[in-house]
């Protein structure tokens, strides 16, 4: 197991370095000069050239890349073009917001889908199972931002349980910050929860058809015993993988949902940085997101290996 984790960390670092290269490369080939976009199109060529020198844009690509790459482990993502301050300062606080939001959403997904998935699998063909199947199908078709608007309308405007747009920073009051994030988290989580329920249900039913289920019955187990002793451990693995993948999706749709609820998170920073071609900020955000995704996918692999000894061998 220890060896497996070491291997995983090694391949994880390699992936991250590759990602960093891809990101940095993309931004250096994208057309458009950040110096021009900061100074405006009327600026004299001399002025532009001076700024390019100041921003370090004239150094060769590989030099710039290595300077940037070696800074990352220290949390140094360079200086923002637009605000002339370290990128880390600019976006450091946003991580907390998006991290909390994604975590809440994942917890909702797991918290709802596991019990409901098990229940529906156990009572296949029952009335509740049928109703849940239909609800699932519908929820899967909702884009999170639309769900967000519906939640805003129902809970914010009709029931007045929260005030839309009145975001409270975590540094002001964590409780109110947390309370404000509940609706966005639900909006993010519901479509994925529906998929997760369906997946788990299918997997459980699939596993229960396998030969070892017959063995378990031949020992005198009842269906409940079979389910909790054997099937669940076998069926949970694709669900773990799925939750890992959901995380990546969550981060992406988190950017959109921020707009719906007026949350000043990474998404907003990203959009404003893009609009002024503030590349260091954009690069940092993309890197951070990739970092989160790679770590989560490595984590799911490790969980996988704990559950299934065969994975460790591969």
């Amino acid at each position: 197991m220890g060896k497996y984790i070491v291997k995983k960390i090694a391949s994880l670092s390699l992936t991250l370095i590759a990602v960093s290269f891809v990101v940095f490369f993309l931004f250096s080939v994208i057309p458009g000069d950040p110096a021009v976009s900061k100074l405006g199109t009327n600026a004299t060529p001399e002025k532009v050239e001076a700024l390019r020198e100041e921003l370090g844009l004239n150094a060769p690509f590989m030099v710039r890349y290595f300077k940037w790459l070696t800074g990352i482990p220290r949390g140094d993502f360079g200086k923002s073009y637009a605000y002339s301050m370290p990128v880390s300062k600019l976006i450091g606080g946003k991580l907390m917001i998006n991290g909390t939001l994604s975590l809440m959403a994942i917890l909702i997904v797991v918290g709802i889908s596991v019990p409901v998935g098990v229940y529906t699998a156990k009572h296949t063909g029952g009335l509740l199972d049928k109703i849940i199947t239909v609800i699932n199908q519908v929820f899967m078709a909702f884009p999170p931002f639309l769900l967000g608007l519906i939640l805003t309308f129902v809970f914010g405007m009709v029931l007045k349980l929260f005030s839309p747009g009145a975001y409270v920073g975590y540094d002001v009051s964590f409780a109110r910050f947390f309370g404000y994030l509940i609706c966005p988290a639900i909006a993010l989580a519901l479509p994925k929860t529906a998929m997760c329920i369906k997946l788990l249900r299918t997997n459980i039913l699939e596993e229960a058809k396998k030969d070892y289920a017959k063995t378990a019955y031949s020992k005198g187990n009842n269906t409940t015993g079979l389910l909790y002793k054997y099937v669940l451990k076998n069926a949970i693995m694709p669900t773990i993988t799925f939750v890992g993948m959901v995380f990546a999706d969550m981060i992406a749709s988190g950017i959109v949902i921020e707009q719906t609820f007026g949350i000043p998170g990474l998404g907003r920073s990203l959009l404003s940085a893009i609009s002024v071609r503030d590349y260091p900020v954009v690069e940092a955000i993309v890197m951070l997101i990739a970092f989160g995704i790679v770590i989560v996918s490595a984590l799911t692999d490790v969980i996988h290996a704990i559950v299934d000894p065969q994975v460790r061998e591969e």
């Binding site: 030969d211 017959k214 063995t215 061998e313």
Partner: protein
């Protein structure tokens, strides 16, 4: 102890009910071994599962009587049935790989019967359960659970290890902590038997317990079952398609076909004096090596080598993975998971025109690898030595996988013609007509997909495909292993006919020494990638030189 009367099993999942088993009658006494014999689809496994109460689907109707200590199990509630399962009736399945959950340790799964039933042995008494439970409501269920005394962890482990030891597993401690994929097939089946025997049931149902195993391992498992029967006086219901094994093990035999019992009686009666035609045929196919049947056709071999393999070695490249330090147990596990990835060493082999050479060996002996190297699917740069061969084509074991499921038979045959350069429509038609006659298929099959054919018909298409390209050597990789006796015989006859008619050289690969005896002229025995013995058929079967060959012959033919 067990009495089965007029057992009838019907399926209702199609539009009209289908009877899968009818009028099965037999009795079993304590300590008796009864064999259920039949081919796939004969209903033998279904009968066994019905007795064990494992038919749980709503669309299957089981009628008749299954009396256990004179109580009808078909009338028992699920709960009553469960009290018997794992306690009084143990069940061993065909494939121990899938019958164990892959993510739980062997120990945990072996203990399971004890964990389910606890210490109270009388819980299995039908009368007790019935009166104490009445209508098993949820509350009473809980109360019933509290009654039983649970085993402690240590007790469970001790008993499981004892059971593993009883199943003659070496190093039971290690096996206890292993996952199923870490064991070899034989060890898994022993562990499966241990898990069924841990609660010392009175009846052990073994559903084709040796089918997935090699012959030498088969013989060991049979010995183990015999010992269990003797020492614990456990009755065994043995289900198999292999008459040899049944003859070795059972005192009473039932022969099933298409859900009907054709014949039943003591083993001697049936084997010495079979009444039914079908039984006779089955027994004939299993005859221990005797006289060559059919006319002796000595001169069908032409003294001209068709395929010569000289000092040929080939190894699969090691799987690359950095930091790979697989040793011992893990390396073994790796092997057992990929039995076909076996290298071959120093192969010398000659097949003459018109000759049928048998290649015998257990799984993992490298015979399939050799076959692939000869036809050119494997080998290449990393191989040493030489293979000189005419045009070689292959016939595969798994007829389902060997024919493209999305192509109709006609298109498949046409594809083979197009690829050998025959593009003219008329000519194609003629060739196809000719080949259909050759493999004895009618024209209507051209419009069917492989999935719409039976296994035997698919294999005929496979042979037709190989023949269409006019090869001079046919490599047949276990072509009849997946087929029933009668069909397999007709396929073998077809191969013999082709060999004689075209002086076709055939390399016939099989794990079944009987088939090889009936078909081949010369036999090579393979073990761990090497040919350990090669001789004319009669010579090899009557006077084997190598110890390994002797073991093989003994386990297969006795």
């Amino acid at each position: 102890m067990l009495e089965v009367k007029d057992l009838k099993i019907e399926f209702f999942d199609h539009s009209k009910p289908e009877t899968a088993v009818r009028d099965v009658d037999f009795t079993m006494k304590e300590g008796e071994i009864v064999g259920l014999v039949g081919e796939s689809g004969s209903g033998k496994s279904l009968t066994a599962t019905a007795i064990a109460g494992l038919i749980r689907r709503g669309d299957v109707k089981v009628s008749g009587e299954i009396l256990w200590d004179s109580k009808n199990l078909l009338k028992a509630s699920r709960r009553q049935m469960r009290a018997l399962q794992g306690e009084e009736i143990g069940f061993v399945f065909q494939d121990p790989m899938t019958a164990f959950s892959p993510v739980h340790k062997i120990g945990y799964q072996v203990e399971d019967a004890l964990r389910v039933h606890g210490k109270s042995k009388n819980a299995a008494d039908l009368n007790n359960v019935a009166s104490a439970e009445g209508e098993a409501s949820e509350n009473e269920k809980k109360a019933g659970k509290n009654d039983k005394e649970e085993y402690s962890r240590e007790e469970l482990k001790a008993l499981a290890i004892q059971a593993l030891k009883d199943a003659e597993l070496p190093d039971p401690e290690r096996v206890y902590n292993s996952y199923p994929f870490e064991l070899s097939g034989g060890m898994r089946q022993r562990a499966m038997i241990a898990s069924a025997m841990i609660s010392k049931p009175r009846l052990l149902i073994a559903d084709e317990p040796t089918t997935a195993l090699d012959v030498t391992v088969q013989a060991e498992i049979i010995k183990l079952l015999q010992r269990i029967n003797k020492e614990d006086n456990t009755a065994i219901l043995f289900i198999s398609h292999d008459l040899g094994l049944v003859k070795k093990l059972c005192s009473k035999v039932l022969v099933l076909r298409n859900g009907d019992v054709l014949e039943s009686g003591s083993a001697e009666e049936i084997f010495e004096n079979p009444k039914d035609e079908y039984t006779k045929k089955l027994i004939a196919a299993n005859v221990v090596i005797g006289k060559e049947h059919g006319e002796a056709d000595e001169n069908h071999i032409i003294e001209e080598p068709e395929c010569v393999v000289t000092d040929y070695s080939f190894y699969y490249p090691a799987r690359k993975s950095f930091g790979d330090l697989r040793i011992g147990k893990k390396a073994e596990a790796e092997k057992s998971r990929q039995p076909e990835k076996i290298g071959i060493t120093d192969i010398r082999l000659t097949v003459r025109k018109g000759e049928i050479v048998g290649l015998v060996g257990e799984s993992g002996s490298g015979k399939s690898t050799l076959a692939k190297c000869i036809v050119g699917l494997q080998g290449g740069k990393s191989a040493t030595g030489s293979i000189t061969c005419g045009k070689a084509r292959m016939i595969f074991q798994d007829t389902y996988s060997a024919l493209n499921p999305k192509m109709k038979v006609g298109r498949l045959l046409k594809e083979a013609l197009v690829l050998s350069g025959i593009k003219d429509k008329e000519e194609q038609k003629k060739e196809i007509q000719k080949i259909l006659d050759e493999v004895e298929l009618s024209e209507e099959f051209l419009e069917r997909f492989p999935a719409e054919l039976s296994g035997g018909q698919r294999q005929r298409v496979g042979i037709a495909l190989a023949l269409l390209q006019k090869p001079t050597l046919l490599v047949a990789d276990e072509p009849v292993s997946a087929l029933d006796v009668a069909i397999s015989e007709s396929i073998l006859a077809l191969l013999r006919k082709i060999s004689r008619k075209y002086h076709m050289a055939i390399l016939f690969i099989s794990h079944d020494l009987r088939t090889v005896y009936h078909l081949c002229d010369r036999v090579c025995v393979m073990k761990q990638g090497r040919i350990v013995e090669e001789a004319e058929k009669e010579e090899l079967y009557t006077n084997p030189k190598e110890e390994y060959t002797k073991v093989l012959l003994r386990s297969a033919l006795e």
